[in-house]
């Protein structure tokens, strides 16, 4: 990308000629459209954009974006993306994945890509169900959830994706309901700007197999009261009337009402997404009321590929080899005359 001017795009430039084949009403359409609108805002040439996916409904995503893309195999998108990024760090690498793809079969690659901190962007479509295989419980399905593979109720406790990600040292974690296209677009742009692995969990409603699983947080009628949209440097305020807030009491987060018991906005926690210590971020991702959305953590440090590049430059500077012949003919050679 260097110093060449970035071309101007509209969302149409990132729409491929492929017919989109998700179920009518699926949140995936919202995610796709938000992405197609966000991409022109990122200042990246479209030939430098690469979308990688694994398997599942979400993993059809690359076919619909007119850029470079690979629809991989189940669970391996994080490893494929890592290879792409290491091979060419100038590319803007995106990964579309789901709760089955990344938290079950691809769990290992998921935690390691977060640990290494490559500059790639992961969009995790969490619908708490397996959609493409038609309705089995996933690693985020709730205990008691009735699915095709748990007709009497699920007995496996779920992962909380944010908790798992922060445990794996995620530097950027954001969460959002699948019905918030404007905020979603903004988050995608922020994720691209962030240097390091960005993980965006979208609470994505599956209209066929798990309809309404996030309604208690995402329904328009309750959204503002049940979610808090976090912004770095701003006090943690939420609610339709902006009268609720969050304070730290002892080792717990608590909801308070501004104006009651002498509470003012000054008493509320101010969101610090950029601090290195993730203790508070952990508490925020686990909080059930209100549900924390927006950018919960955004802590920048050197990326894996930067460390690799720096080391390579260092080694090159001190090396006596510039061509392989130098190596082959070096050291312990002997001549047969």
């Amino acid at each position: 990308m260097e110093d060449t001017a970035v071309k101007k795009y509209t969302f149409k430039d990132f729409s491929s000629d492929q017919e989109v084949r998700w179920c009518p009403g699926c949140d995936d359409y919202v995610i796709l459209r938000s992405m197609q609108k966000a991409l022109p805002e990122m200042g990246v040439n479209k030939e430098d954009v690469v979308f990688i996916s694994g398997i599942g409904c979400s993993s059809r995503f690359p076919y619909y974006i007119d850029s470079y893309g690979m629809h991989g195999i189940h669970g391996r998108a994080a490893a494929i993306s890592s290879g792409v990024k290491l091979a060419n760090p100038n590319l803007s690498v995106w990964m579309a994945t789901g709760d089955g793809d990344s938290l079950a079969i691809g769990g290992n690659h998921f935690i390691h890509v977060l640990r290494r901190n490559l500059d790639i962007n992961i969009v995790l479509f969490n619908n708490e169900i397996y959609g493409l295989t038609k309705g089995q419980f996933s690693p985020t399905s709730l205990i008691g959830q009735k699915t095709k593979s748990s007709p009497f109720g699920n007995t496996q406790p779920p992962f909380q994706p944010g908790e798992l990600a922060l445990g794996a040292r995620a530097r950027f974690f954001a969460r959002l309901g699948g019905n918030s296209p404007k905020q979603m677009m903004k988050l995608f742009v922020e994720a691209e700007k962030f240097k390091g692995t960005s993980l965006i969990e979208i609470l994505q409603n599956c209209v066929i197999f798990n309809d309404g699983c996030f309604t208690k947080y995402t329904d328009k009628a309750v959204k503002e009261d049940k979610q808090i949209y976090l912004e770095h440097g701003k006090p943690m305020v939420f609610g339709k009337n902006k009268d609720k807030g969050i304070v730290l009491k002892g080792l717990n987060l608590e909801v308070v009402t501004i104006g009651e018991e002498g509470i003012t906005e000054q008493d509320l926690l101010v969101h610090d997404a950029k601090c290195e210590d993730n203790t508070l971020h952990q508490m925020l991702v686990k909080m059930e009321y209100p549900l924390a959305t927006g950018i919960i953590r955004s802590f920048e440090e050197d990326t894996f590929e930067e460390r690799e590049q720096m080391l390579t430059e260092e080694v090159k500077k001190n090396s006596k080899f510039s061509k392989v012949d130098d190596l082959f003919f070096s050291g312990e050679t002997y001549e047969v005359k």
Partner: protein, 621 residues
């Protein structure tokens, strides 16, 4: 110490063509270093050499135990040397366990050198000897040279003020000094080696130098060694050489292919014996821009490689049998997306975890067929430590020119074995023409194919105007879009198969060695080349009409294969498995009769056994 050159000349000097020597001791006794030094010195003297290390899978097995014995075998000669050798002319045993586990390999009447200091009651017990073999007559069939190496080492270092551990550690150099004297080798190479290796520990360099000299001069004056041996330099082709093992040669072949093709080299790998040394070698070469990525598992090893191939690198992944099994699904994706990459499988004893440090050829069918669906890939095999360089290069060339994954098979025997390599300069290597898309060409679409090879174009992310998607789903032949159309699928299956088949136009024909027709054709593939070659040479020396066809290209086979088979009365396929290549051959040449000779013991073939077997086959009706 005063050097008395006259003394040496008093001994008889016997001329020999070749000898096989094995150094054995505890895993901590430095046997690999001892063997390597003897090898390098002999190679620089002009001998042909071949080596094989044999070490336990335990890192530091309990001292003195039978399973903790580490060995290094070297075969040197004034004649062509093709294998590390079968039976031993000399065994150097640093302890009773080493003697016990290796004595059976020593030729009757030949020499065994032992460190008598290590034959303590405790060590004899650990080696499960009920009586001391040095005293009970069990070594009567050998010429045993008993030397108190530990005490002599201690004596020679008494003025240096070293701790006991460092002193005892140097005793392997006493043994090396003795062997140097026996074979008339110059110590200078090793003395220089100490200076370099212990640049910052001059006292250790001095200690090692003292001990090796002590061993050398002790032998010179010792009446126990009746004679020394001279092995003249061999007549190898002129050129600059170095000693390489197969894993290093493999790594260097990829370095050469990357430079020649103008691509950057990416390695995605997960540690596994005996393939890890390729990773160890390539991580050293960041100065060439090598991107060596140690992944979280075998699957990430190959899928990161697929990502790197998509992004335009010469991408490789290295593994051994169990890892190849884990990579199976991803190899299918690489084949389906038609991306160039090399998968190296350094075969080891299987199945399952099997025998990690032992050799076998039992992954051939896995390489050929170990994937879901109709998923042919190119399969090639290196056959000597040094030609691992050529076949790593060739695997890269074929992958890049044909846009398909290539599986390169080597094995633990050639990966860890070493021999002289006549160094190749990059300018002498065959050209590699990548399929990286030429934006000015008419057929710049990523899904357009070369009419001759059927290889598709390689449109690399970052190239404007060629944005496209690939994936594991079946794609339409022309547009590359996802297609579930029945006849398109069959057509695509045929195209992918035909693409691999046409690789036969881009590889050399097979040329049998020795007889071009005759009573018997010995067929092999991969790492058994040295043993089969030696056996066939032996038979031809005895005037048998035997040829040797050794296959490096397995899928597809060379075009003239059937023609070669038709020239012999009998064909025997020799493999370190239960007949996997024989099965592949039968599936393609169902008119031809293939006799099998198989061995699955985690060990290479014995040349003696092979010769006996071949003679029997020729005699049988």
């Amino acid at each position: 110490m005063i050097i008395d050159n006259n003394k040496a000349t008093k001994k008889a000097v016997e001329q020999v063509n070749a000898v096989v020597i094995r150094f054995v001791g505890d895993s901590g006794d430095g046997m690999q270093l001892t063997g390597t030094q003897f090898t390098d010195t002999s190679a620089m003297f002009g001998n042909d050499v071949a080596t094989f290390p044999n070490y336990p899978s335990e890192i530091r097995a309990p001292q003195g135990s039978l399973y903790g014995v580490s060995g290094f075998q070297v075969h040197i000669g004034s004649v062509e040397i093709s294998t590390p050798g079968d039976d031993l002319d000399l065994l150097v045993a640093m302890n009773p366990a080493g003697l016990k586990t290796n004595l059976a390999s020593v030729k009757a009447g030949h020499t065994v050198i032992v460190d008598t200091d290590s034959f303590t009651k405790k060590n004899l017990q650990k080696a499960e000897y009920e009586t001391n073999p040095l005293e009970d007559g069990s070594l009567d069939n050998y010429r045993v040279i008993e030397v108190a190496m530990t005490s002599l080492t201690r004596e020679s270092l008494k003025d240096l003020g070293l701790d006991n551990k460092s002193i005892v550690r140097s005793k392997n150099m006493f043994a090396l000094g003795m062997v140097y004297w026996m074979y008339g080798r110059d110590m200078n190479h090793t003395l220089d080696f100490f200076k370099k290796k212990f640049k910052f520990k001059p006292i250790i360099a001095e200690a090692n130098s003292k001990v090796i000299k002590a061993g050398y001069y002790y032998s010179e004056t010792l009446e126990l060694i009746p004679n020394s041996y001279a092995i003249a330099p061999s007549t190898m082709p002129k050129g600059i050489y170095r000693i390489v093992n197969g894993n290093t040669a493999t790594a260097w072949g990829f370095l050469a292919a990357a430079e020649k093709s103008g691509l950057e080299l990416f390695l995605g790998s997960y540690p596994i014996t005996p393939a890890t040394d390729i990773l160890h070698e390539l991580v050293k070469h960041k100065h060439f821009g090598v991107k060596a990525f140690q992944a979280e598992d075998e699957i990430a090893g190959i899928t990161s490689t697929i990502g790197a191939a998509f992004a335009g690198d010469l991408a490789i992944t290295t593994t051994s049998g169990p890892g190849l099994a884990l990579k199976g699904e991803a190899i299918g994706l690489a084949m389906m997306t038609e991306l160039p990459m090399v998968i190296v499988n350094v075969q080891r004893g299987g199945p399952s975890t099997g025998m990690p440090t032992k050799t076998e050829q039992s992954d051939l069918l896995q390489a050929m067929y170990g994937r879901n669906g109709e998923s042919p890939v190119i399969v090639i095999a290196a056959s000597t430590p040094a030609n691992c360089f050529d076949y790593a290069y060739e695997a890269s060339r074929l992958a890049l020119e044909h846009m398909t994954p290539v599986i390169l098979l080597t094995d633990g025997y050639i990966a860890n074995g070493s021999e002289p390599w006549k160094i190749k300069s990059i300018k002498d290597m065959q050209k590699i023409t990548t399929k990286v898309v030429d934006l000015n060409a008419d057929d710049a679409s990523p899904f357009d194919r070369d009419h001759e090879t059927l290889a598709r174009n390689w449109a690399i992310p970052g190239t404007p105007g060629l944005e496209h998607r690939v994936g594991g789903l079946e794609k339409d032949e022309l547009s590359g879009n996802v297609s579930m159309d029945a006849s398109n699928h069959e057509q695509m299956v045929n195209v992918r198969a035909e693409k691999v088949k046409r690789v036969a136009n881009n590889i050399p024909e097979i040329t049998p060695e020795y007889q071009k027709e005759g009573d018997l054709l010995v067929v092999g593939w991969g790492g058994t080349y040295g043993s089969l070659h030696s056996a066939v040479r032996g038979l031809n020396d005895e005037d048998f009409k035997v040829g040797h066809a050794h296959f490096n290209y397995i899928n597809p086979l060379p075009k003239n294969t059937e023609d070669v088979f038709s020239k012999y009365k009998k064909i025997v396929v020799c493999e370190l498995n239960k007949g996997q290549f024989a099965q592949v051959l039968r599936s393609q040449f169902n008119e031809v009769e293939f006799i099998q000779y198989n061995k699955v013991m985690g060990l290479p073939f014995s040349v003696t056994d092979l010769m006996a077997k071949f003679k029997n086959i020729i005699k049988e009706d």
